[in-house]
Symmetry: C2
Subunit: 144 residues, 2 copies
């Protein structure tokens, strides 16, 4: 079950020697409400009073504290979402056409298989995997 976003954010920031300020709380709140990865323009659209530089700076801090994850795609802007343990393990549907990213979960069986594959790979190549990332690339309902 997901951890409480604000509580966890506060804890992790404190552990990192950072404060949980209003701007940071607003960012966590915005990402939490959104439920899908947001690009900077999306975030600034939702929080017009938040300066761009503060958004970038605080998202960087939140990322380092392990509260937020940054997703880079081929589109112009990076996207941000809450760290996985603040939501739930999921994957992405990346629309080639409009760039939006939608969250999905896949069958447990498949997740298990991937975790096992990660272990196998670690053994055979010396690479130690801490997480995996599965994106499905295609076109979303509205663009299809």
């Amino acid at each position: 079950m997901p951890l409480d976003p604000h509580l966890t954010a506060a804890n992790r920031l404190r552990a990192a020697g950072q404060r949980y300020t209003t701007n940071r709380r607003d960012l966590v709140e915005t990402l939490s409400e959104s439920g899908q990865p947001m690009a900077i323009p999306d975030i600034l659209g939702t929080r017009p009073e938040l300066p761009q530089s503060s958004a970038y700076r605080n998202l960087a801090v939140l990322e380092q504290a392990g509260v937020v994850r940054r997703i880079v795609t081929n589109e112009e802007f990076a996207r941000f979402e809450l760290a996985e343990d603040l939501t739930e393990h999921h994957h992405h549907l990346v629309c080639m056409s409009c760039g939006t990213i939608e969250d999905v979960t896949i069958p447990t069986r498949l997740e298990r298989g991937m975790e096992r594959a990660m272990t196998d790979v670690a053994e055979s190549t010396g690479f130690s995997a801490v997480s995996h990332r599965l994106d499905l690339i295609g076109t979303c309902k509205s663009c299809g």
Copy 2:
């Protein structure tokens, strides 16, 4: 089995109304020899006579022609690799520490499972997937 890179590149470029020039051939050759995704500095290091702008421009052309795939990560430079049907279907080991990307293949069973998952997702969400991308995130042998 993989297609011949140069032959395929020539064909796809011709189909796209483009020529298979020396610079483009060199790029395909470089990526082909590398066997793993290369960042621009890597490429320019291998081909010092190639101007940066030509590298970018031709990689863009090759990408549009379906010969090259661009991979964006959290590191500063994008990376380029030959299109999947010129190599073989594979996934990536992304090193969080040094940024290098290594190619790996995973068990056929797992690939099948993912393809089925893609179909299922398409049915339930209206998203139509054309490909998938699985990256294992962690630390590589040299950084571990």
